[in-house]
Symmetry: C2
Subunit: 348 residues, 2 copies
Amino acid sequence: MDGSSSTGSRRARRGGGGITLGDVARLAGVSPITASRALNTPGQVAPETLARVREAVARTGYVPNRLAGGLASARSRLVAAVVPTIAGPVFMEMVQSLTAALAESGYQLMLGQSGYTESREDALLEAIIGRRPDGVVLTGIMHSAEGRRRLLASGIPVVETWDLTPTPIDMLVGFSHVDAAAEVARHLHAKGRRRLALISADDERAQRRNRGFADEAVRLGLAADASGIPVELVPAPTTLGSGRIGLTRLLERVPEVDAVFCSSDMLALGVLTEAAARGIAVPSRLAVVGFGDLGFAADTEPALSTVRIDGTAIGRRAASFIVDRAEGRAVAQKVVDLGFRVVERGSS
Amino acid sequence: MDGSSSTGSRRARRGGGGITLGDVARLAGVSPITASRALNTPGQVAPETLARVREAVARTGYVPNRLAGGLASARSRLVAAVVPTIAGPVFMEMVQSLTAALAESGYQLMLGQSGYTESREDALLEAIIGRRPDGVVLTGIMHSAEGRRRLLASGIPVVETWDLTPTPIDMLVGFSHVDAAAEVARHLHAKGRRRLALISADDERAQRRNRGFADEAVRLGLAADASGIPVELVPAPTTLGSGRIGLTRLLERVPEVDAVFCSSDMLALGVLTEAAARGIAVPSRLAVVGFGDLGFAADTEPALSTVRIDGTAIGRRAASFIVDRAEGRAVAQKVVDLGFRVVERGSS
DNA sequence: ATGAAAGCGCTAACAT
DNA sequence: ATGTTAGCGCTTTCAT
């Protein structure tokens, strides 16, 4: 009634039935540790032994328990990614490439949403650290000094992305928001625009771009001071609708505006839509520039000028940073500036 | 040199220094299991003991190791979600709500991308099962019978979403693609449209909608048979650009078309864009209906009629299915049809 | 190339 | 209400 007496009986208590490495080893006629080596470091095992273990794995359908492996080896092969929200298209490209790159190296992604506030940040951090991930990829957030301290104290490799902070927690892959915005200002100036304006999300990063844009505009002699560049703020995350509203409000205040820099492509698409609805010609009467170069930007009418951020490259870089660190490889540089590119299309 | 002799020395070997439940217990002057109870089932612990343990946790900055906890209790508090790609906006809303709902119950999301092919499906499955998640949420995929068999054999609760298959692996929350498409056909017919057409992604689910649409059109007397409803296929994932191309091709073949049902809102936005560029009036000359009711649909010009799928509800339902199962609560019904809603706006 | 022993950090059982 | 004991399934260390 109790099945196999020698070892089966002792398993009956907990855990429940799954096939373990021990079962595989017994079937192959080797010790558990040899079976383990056959799976993890096949080079250390005699070919004939290897074959027997593999045969046993195939027969049983054994799938190694990574929880146990992670506990024993202190390597979970889990990487946590924190995004403000997955439901904005901006970070998707990065998360996609991060997931793919990690999977290729045998790592799995854990996703956490911080929201745009720092309220749940602490609980999220606890949940993450509790899993003992081999790395954490941060996108933009981690406002609280306390959170940064805890992460640092945990000893987990951290990659911050989408930005170039002067004082990174650990590793960093991003670009300069200020420089990007300044280059857009120069681009519009070169195109003969003189009445620049901003339609922007109210998050910190976008506002940093706004400052870069306004400062450069002042430098170009387009305003006496930064307050001379009108800004319409809309709540994050941005939508097509908020772009339409933004333009409507902007035109009420500053009818003579001849160029708008939007903090996202969605916002810019809203501006294009509203401009078309009002019969405002783009780009002849109004130039529009977006940010992100999302999939649709090249195909709008007119095609949207924007700032291209290579989210795929960011994700790939972040993955390799963490995998390198986890495998004990030396990381040559801890900070990578992936830059950006102002893509000129029909809308400007 | 060796630090604390009694227990410290034995930790020096592996693991490396983290604070453990044992440390907390010692500091609080209780046994490890009492400390464990103080954290997990505080009701079972005397208030004064509880306070001492909490104090010790605060002093040490202890964060429980969930790998160890999961191994011991056979409950990982990890849930795996599989999506074709995170980089399509369609599933984002669901993933977002799934992540949030799970986090609320103390569960964490692991993300896996299957791609639109079934090549990596097996490796992904192995990675997932290896983590012993408390549940798996599937979106659309799991083509291979072998994969379904392995999942079933693993004993992990499974929720399939976005569809209503007749033979679910386990639990299911979705809606009928065929019914949704049929209702769109009726809607267009009611609006006086007689020359219907489809612009659609080439994935299985979209094509199922196509069949539902065409069959209903035939039933309404709009064509002799399903092949009388023209279809333009574009590759998944869909983009604004492919919508423009789709309409262009469609008009070449069938200039007299007066209504298009698109398999996604992005596609529909492309159709609106191309129509505007060609001076084709929407809806008077051409009606357009999308699918998904993404964030921008209500704000396009004209506003986009579409099929609303409540991704948030799907995610929440899937989460509660899995959490209920994990906590041992009885699940009343294993299949939930969340339905859909045809949202009539300006474009039709 | 293989194995024995000892634990990783935690919790389920079974006391008391 | 608290403690003791025995693992969860794997891998490290140290032998052979």
